[in-house]
């Protein structure tokens, strides 16, 4: 079965995931179309990170199905590299490689994993660093950069693999308030360029502004979802209302 852009680029159907005897995802279904931006919100421990990590096979699932561009993620014969070329991921803790400069961080995977030409990769990496507004920081080591700067390098590093979908797991949660904005700006630029984005975030204002659809998760299920306007102003489920009342 070949994937066409009319079909969802990412599709989850009744996904179940347990850690030992604890069921963390209890039947999650959602579809994301190409170019869409969706935000997943919900209380801590509700399974948001687990959900997003299942999409690029960092976690396996026990039941249900996940497809990315028609690629069956839960297939034991899955070509993981093929999946990871399609899906980029940015983590809360940046996870830059501390022994490499910003530029080297961005260049490493295309050269080592994809075997691409170094000169060509370097041009692209420099352009990406400019795109995340870090000109002049190419030769800085992660330890010399602020949290926000590190996170933008991490975004550039992911983009260097030319993914079709980007996953963001609370990427601003570890940042100082003044650097949160610069990272959100970067993500907004990406979304404006048509990148498909799946974000876990606690930045409600940002979610409202950027998302095509909001999903609210609680204890491993999607309680409610909808476009930001309806979701934020007209939440139906009492759990959603309670969560929004606390956070807004």
């Amino acid at each position: 079965m070949t994937w066409t852009p009319q079909q969802p680029i990412v599709s989850l159907k009744d996904v179940h995931k347990s850690f030992g005897s604890v069921e963390v995802l209890r039947g999650i279904s959602l579809d994301v179309m190409k170019g869409e931006v969706i935000c997943i919100i919900g209380p801590s421990g509700s399974g948001k990170s687990t959900l997003i990590r299942c999409i690029n096979a960092l976690n396996d699932i026990q039941a249900g199905s996940i497809t990315v561009e028609g690629l069956e993620v839960n297939d034991p014969k899955l070509d993981k590299l093929a999946l990871r070329r399609k899906v980029g991921m940015v983590f809360q803790q940046y996870n830059l490689f501390p022994h490499k400069t910003a530029l080297q961080n961005v260049m490493m995977a295309p050269i080592k994993v994809l075997g691409q030409d170094r000169a060509e990769v370097e041009n692209r990496a420099r352009a990406l660093i400019a795109k995340v507004r870090l000109n002049g920081k190419e030769d800085a080591y992660p330890g010399e950069l602020s949290g926000g700067q590190q996170q933008r390098v991490a975004i550039a590093r992911s983009l260097a693999m030319n993914p079709d979908v980007m996953l963001f797991d609370e990427v601003t949660a570890a940042l100082d308030p003044e650097t949160v904005k610069e990272v959100l700006m970067t993500i907004k630029d990406l979304a404006a360029d048509g990148m498909t984005c799946i974000l876990v975030t606690h930045e409600m204002g940002f979610a409202r502004e950027i998302a095509d659809c909001i999903y609210f998760t609680d204890r491993g299920v999607i309680v409610e979802s909808g476009p930001p306007a309806t979701f934020f102003d007209n939440a139906q489920d009492p759990r959603t209302q309670q969560f929004l009342a606390q956070i807004l």
Partner: protein, 291 residues
């Protein structure tokens, strides 16, 4: 025989040697640090001066006898060759032991259980065996020559000694590596994985380079301890500085030479190991601040 008493390191998952510089010194390989400090140096110099100058006056009465200082200087070229041999043995053991140890350490964090367990067993076995016993085993078990395509290749005792001493080095390095690899945040593995790196590529490109800083101080400390252990090879018949010292003493046949000559050799070891030890401490401090 202090060199056998290498202390055990705690076998804690994710134990972070670099994060605990003080504890590392207390639990790890404390000998080098305790032995090599300025107090020891002062004591050594004073002792050497005392045994050299004291008898010098007494010997004025018997002019036909050479002074101890003269004898030491006469023997110095021979002893220096022996000491060079000790250094050579220590460097080679360290080299071979480190290469094998890094490999074994990586196997200790393998995802395949039998491999992980075997590597652990090998590490523990060699880490908890007396070095002298390992040396004896190597002397006894390795033939003194090999036949390769009909050509007899001799396998002298000192090479066996190198192999014998590389075994504990391997075991300690393996343990250092395991600790260092486990101390790297899992986020490094995950972000590499999400970028398409295989496990092996992650290890070689991302994890192992980061372990260098963490392992370096303990590893240098190990080298100092190893160097001090090299006189053990004289027991199994290798002509190292210790064996040559004994030979020199019996050739001279003078009882008053005994203490000065051993002190003289001791000071060589001191002068060789002290800078290594100091550098280790500097590195420990430097990296512990940074991490």
């Amino acid at each position: 025989m202090t060199m056998y008493c290498l202390h055990q390191k705690p076998k804690v998952r994710g134990h972070m040697p670099v994060m605990l510089p003080m504890r590392l010194r207390a639990d790890g390989l404390p000998l080098a640090d305790r032995l090599f400090n300025l107090w020891t140096l002062t004591a050594l110099v004073l002792a050497l001066a005392a045994v050299l100058i004291g008898p010098a006056f007494a010997q004025l009465a018997t002019p036909d006898e050479r002074t101890i200082l003269t004898i030491l200087l006469e023997w110095t070229p021979t002893l220096a060759k022996g000491f060079g041999f000790n250094v050579l043995i220590s460097v080679l053991s360290m080299l071979i032991g480190t290469i094998m140890g890094v490999f074994l350490g990586v196997l200790q964090v393998s995802q395949i259980r039998p491999i992980r367990q075997s590597a652990w067993l090998v590490t523990q076995f060699f880490r908890n065996s007396p070095w002298l016993v390992l040396l004896f085993y190597c002397i006894l078990l390795i033939p003194f020559q090999f036949e390769v395509f009909g050509v007899k290749v001799p396998f002298p005792g000192w090479i066996k000694a190198v192999i014998g001493l590389s075994l504990p080095v391997m075991a300690y390095t393996s343990e250092f590596m395991r600790g260092a690899i486990l101390s790297i945040p899992t986020g490094q593995w995950e972000s590499a994985e999400s970028l398409g790196f295989s496990r092996r590529m992650t290890l070689t490109n991302i994890i192992l380079p980061q372990t260098v800083k963490r392992v370096l101080p303990s590893w240098m400390n190990l080298y100092a301890v190893l160097t001090m252990a090299t006189p053990l090879v004289s027991i199994i018949g290798v002509d190292d500085v210790m064996a040559l010292t004994r030979a020199a003493l019996s050739a001279e046949g003078r009882a008053d030479l005994l203490i000065p000559m051993y002190l003289y050799i001791l000071s060589w070891f001191f002068l060789y190991c002290y800078p290594i030890s100091s550098l280790t401490r500097v590195l420990e401090r430097k990296y512990s601040v940074k991490l």
